[in-house]
């Protein structure tokens, strides 16, 4: 299987930087045990998307906030709202990795260029909307 970065470049037909659905982006590989690519959209540098793949799927993950940012007395209400909203958010779901809350989307390994591009840009929009909507629960 090709590396994730080569695959992205092949599928999207673009080098490490370019434009995706009108967004200027940059791919940065991150060192580690498994291949992870950081996708940074211009003017949204604070909310990069991390791409990784297992043997069955490709995951696009955006980190939203940390446990310590949550207003503690509103925490359980926030969790319920996230659970309720989960099914309505297009293409993305809320999750948590360690003490960091995330919004993520999963793609099949043979997804088309359009699907990957759409996933990345929709996830970025969803991440912004999610933080905006959940601001009242955050410090």
């Amino acid at each position: 299987m090709n590396g994730l970065l080569e695959k992205l470049e092949t599928v999207l037909g673009m080098p490490d930087t370019g434009t995706l659905n009108g967004f200027e982006y940059e791919f940065n590989p991150i060192p580690g045990d498994v291949e992870v690519i950081q996708v940074v959209f211009k003017d949204r540098e604070e909310l990069p998307i991390y791409l990784t793949q297992s043997d069955s799927q490709m995951l696009c993950i955006c980190y939203l906030w940390e446990e310590k940012e949550i207003i503690s007395k509103k925490r359980s209400e926030m969790l319920e709202v996230m659970l309720d909203m989960n099914i309505s958010v297009p293409l993305s779901s809320f999750g948590r990795i360690g003490n960091r809350y995330t919004i993520f989307g999963a793609l099949s390994l043979d997804s088309s260029a359009e699907s990957i591009a759409r996933e990345l840009t929709v996830l970025s929009d969803n991440a912004l909307d999610a933080i905006d909507a959940m601001s009242e629960y955050l410090n």
């Binding site: 045990d33 950081q38 297992s54 799927q57 993950i61 960091r100 410090n139």
Partner: protein, 231 residues
């Protein structure tokens, strides 16, 4: 179903220490071996099944043949009886009895083959279900393992300062601010364009003698004439 619980316990237990394997690689290998074994068992069972089904069909044909033969001998025995040839009828009856024993043996054999076919089919069905379950479990374990390893790299990347994780609200504010700046810039540029094109329009109108300033000379002249008349 048990597996979901196990995975849940493992994730909740090691959730604070990312990067730790949920099930060690040895465990994954055992699972993968079980899948391979099950696939092998299915292949063998399918081969067996064909053999047993062939024997079942063979027994079925044998039963048909024997039944037909018995019927023929019965009709012959009846003919012998019609001729009052008791001795010949007795011999035929012996033959029929012999065939009936064989028929019973074949019927028992066919039943056994049929039961065997059913049990092998059931075994194949169960093994397929087991393979599906194991493959789903392995996929969950591998995904969890992958996410934990990826998260470890991402966390090191963020904490290492190469990509600072800013508090969510602050990130949102910065992004909104940049978006606002961008839209202000666009609005300003639109205004400027409008003004510039407006100015040139005024000039064109003036040149064509249209607008407020076009007949100023005439107005001044008329005003002066009016002044002279009144004075």
């Amino acid at each position: 179903m048990d597996f979901f619980k196990k995975l849940m316990t493992a994730i909740r237990g090691s959730g604070r220490e990312l990067g730790e394997a949920i099930i060690d690689s040895q465990g994954i290998r055992i699972y993968e071996q079980e899948i391979d074994d099950a696939k092998e068992a299915i292949k063998k069972a399918e081969q067996d099944l064909t053999g047993v089904m062939a024997k079942e069909m063979q027994a079925g044909r044998e039963i048909e043949r024997l039944e037909k033969e018995i019927a023929e001998y019965e009709s012959k025995a009846l003919s012998a009886l019609d001729q009052d040839n008791e001795a010949l009828a007795g011999e035929v009856a012996d033959k029929i009895a012999e065939l009936e024993v064989e028929l019973d043996t074949q019927k028992v054999a066919k039943q056994q083959f049929s039961a065997h076919v059913e049990s092998v089919k059931e075994m194949i069905k169960q093994t397929h279900a087991k393979i599906r379950e194991h493959e789903r479990e392995i996929s969950m374990v591998k995904t969890t393992d992958n996410v934990q390893k990826a998260a470890k790299s991402i966390n090191q990347h963020i904490d290492g300062g190469s990509s600072n994780m800013v508090a969510a609200k602050e990130s949102l504010e910065r992004i909104k601010h940049r978006q606002q700046e961008e839209s202000d810039r666009m609005a300003a540029s639109e205004t400027l364009n409008a003004e510039l094109s407006g100015e040139s329009l005024e000039n064109k109108l003036k040149a064509a003698g249209i607008g407020a300033d076009a007949d100023r000379k005439k107005q001044v002249l008329e005003r002066l004439k009016a002044k002279r008349q009144t004075s």
